[in-house]
């Protein structure tokens, strides 16, 4: 019972992380119809940036932990957003009008570049962040319990808040309206005076920011990372985005949660080695019965 409960909590945490990264994939796909393979690497870079800025902030002598964390978080989001913007400008914008596969290869190339760039600059070994905070909530008896650390609770909270904020931005602000318009019909949006280039860059920036939040949270929670975490997380998050229906924001979150929960439950209750196999099998089963994903819009074939 408690094992199940613990796995559920682990699944929620994992799912939140996947969801945050999946948002980047789904928004980019929704607006320009391409899979941003380099998005996982943006997440990885944010983990490195977070740790670097944290060390910097410590050197500059900001003693109070919450203030240091807040400053570092904002810096990380800002710098990661610049990475997201740059990748789009260099690798995707020139390919805006071409076939579907060209941006994909470019994205794969960009992913390789970012991985190796970080590996060369920072070294190939695992990096570690010392545990900075230890509070836990515990439920149950002394011998059998379910625990969720304060940090993990914050992860869930931050994810919910981010999702809410993003949904509000997309649905209630002018920026969001521009995004939705560009997604529906880019030519018309251009004719109506929306600067689609800037809107698309904005979407990349938002996606990168979400990934940065995920990177910060995961580094803070698990403490160790290396230059390769982007690849694995990227594939999982992409799977989550597709599972939920690519192009749909709530779908990304839902897909993330389902993926995280099923992976965690499978790992805990059955077998850890094959949890990825299970995750993909789940994806295939969902797609066979609902080819557009859980919350996706059925693809209308224009004739």
């Amino acid at each position: 019972m408690y094992i199940l409960g613990q796995q559920l909590i682990n699944g929620l945490i994992l799912g939140s992380i996947y969801g945050l990264i999946a948002i980047g994939y789904t928004m980019v796909y929704g607006i320009i119809g391409m899979i941003n393979f380099a998005h996982g690497e943006i997440y990885m870079i944010s983990a490195y940036l977070f740790t670097i800025f944290l060390s910097l902030v410590a050197i500059f002598g900001i003693a109070s932990l919450p203030v240091a964390l807040l400053v570092t978080l904002l810096l990380t989001i800002a710098f990661t957003a610049v990475y997201g913007f740059s990748v789009e400008r260099i690798a995707y914008r020139p390919l805006r009008g071409s076939t579907r596969l060209a941006p994909l290869i470019s994205a794969i190339g960009m992913s390789l570049v970012l991985q190796n760039y970080v590996q060369l600059a920072q070294g190939a070994r695992d990096q570690a962040l010392p545990p900075l905070y230890h509070g836990v909530f515990r439920f149950g008896t002394a011998s059998e319990f379910v625990q969720i650390t304060h940090i993990q609770a914050i992860i869930i909270l931050v994810t919910v808040v981010s999702m809410a904020a993003l949904t509000w931005i997309i649905n209630r602000t002018e920026l969001g309206r521009a995004c939705r318009a560009t997604q529906q019909d880019r030519t018309m949006a251009n004719l109506l005076g929306i600067n689609t280039d800037r809107t698309i860059s904005l979407v990349f920036v938002i996606g990168a920011s979400m990934a940065a939040v995920a990177g910060v949270l995961i580094t803070f929670n698990f403490g160790s990372f290396n230059y390769f975490i982007g690849f694995v997380a990227g594939i999982k998050a992409f799977t989550a985005a597709v599972l939920g229906g690519i192009g749909s924001l709530p779908g990304a979150m839902l897909g993330g949660l389902i993926l995280g929960l099923s992976e965690s439950l499978f790992a805990g209750l059955v077998n850890t080695d094959y949890k990825d196999v299970f995750a993909f099998a789940l994806l295939v089963s969902v797609l066979v019965f609902r080819p557009e994903g859980l919350l996706g819009k059925p693809a209308v074939e224009k004739i």
Partner: protein
Amino acid sequence: MNVAQSLKDATVAALIAAVLFVPIVGLVLDGQDLVTHLPRAVILVAVVFGGRLLISMGVQTQLGRPLRHAAAALEQVWSRVGDVAGGKLAWFIAGLLLVLVAIPFLPSTTNYLIQILSLTLIYVLLGMGLNIVVGLAGLLDLGFVAFYAVGAYGYALLAAHLGLSFWASIPVAGLLAATFGCMLGFPVLRMHGDYLAIVTLGFGEIIRILLVNMVDFTGGPNGISAPRPTLFGLSFGRRPEAGEVAFHDFFGLDYDSSYRYIFVYLIILMFTVLAVWVFKRLREMPIGREWEALREDEVACKALGINHTTTKLSAFTLGATFGGIGGVFFAAMEGFLNPSSFTFLESAIILSIVVLGGMGSIFGVILAAVGITLLPELFREFEQYRMLVFGLAMVFVMVWRPTGLIRPGRRAFGVEGNGHGQ
């Protein structure tokens, strides 16, 4: 010439470069501390500034114009090369074959070179396979490495458990890979574009995970050995196994390690030529037309009465067969298999070969396979930077020529003489 504007552009670029490079390149994590490497970050920013300034000003000045004319002229020449080579493909291949057959017998050729060439040929073979799935049929397959792995491990396991020889394994492993191709094809029939991509990616990863974890069956991360190929029962080792005759003993020659490499190389060459020929024929047959129709417009395809299901399945199955056979050769060449050779990166490389070369183009795929395999070898000394340069090259080539190096041409059949008909 607007120097102010150029300077402004360059400054903006340099600022962005500073944000990108100063933290990651300039401040290196070392345990709990930061080690500053600011000089190299500053150099990168300076290069960005200088480069942007040069490009911005160069395009505007007197110097810039002839350079742009030269660039345009080069483009023209390259397009002509593509057209000509595509048309005279037979001559090109004949000439290439002569060179390839001769190379191993030249005195200055090392075993290493023969191995590199063998690997290149395997990539051409794999490229042909994926060219069917992605290039002709337009089905975005990101998990092609799965069939490659099935072929390779299939050979090793068949030899270990059933005692099949190299030559017998080729069709069997090919069939095995074809079955997997079919297995992949069924669930994805209804999926389009990017959904197909992630499912095939997942398939590739599943195969790799199974290979790593089924330790009793596949040897797991420690790998499994594959037997060497024989020529009518003659083995190529220095000392023959019990019951085998050695190649060099049979022909009365001294043992030379290169015999084995040359033998494997020639076999691979033979099969690769066969594969290219098969691909060319398939492309011109009705089934090739159906694949290309599928790629261009699926709905029109269905409206014309083309059976969607069999077309897709045949593409997957045939592509997988090529992949599986490539796997057998890889196993025979290396002698030892390991799941780390069958990662997503391999799928990405093979996909790059097809897309960079030009979808559906034979010459393009050969060119791209050569480029992707041989160019990293030239950079051997800069071992560390190889993958970085490879990634940059991928981005650069795609931005420069999004349709691939060789424009996919439409092969049409014309009527001789009076074009107005009867």
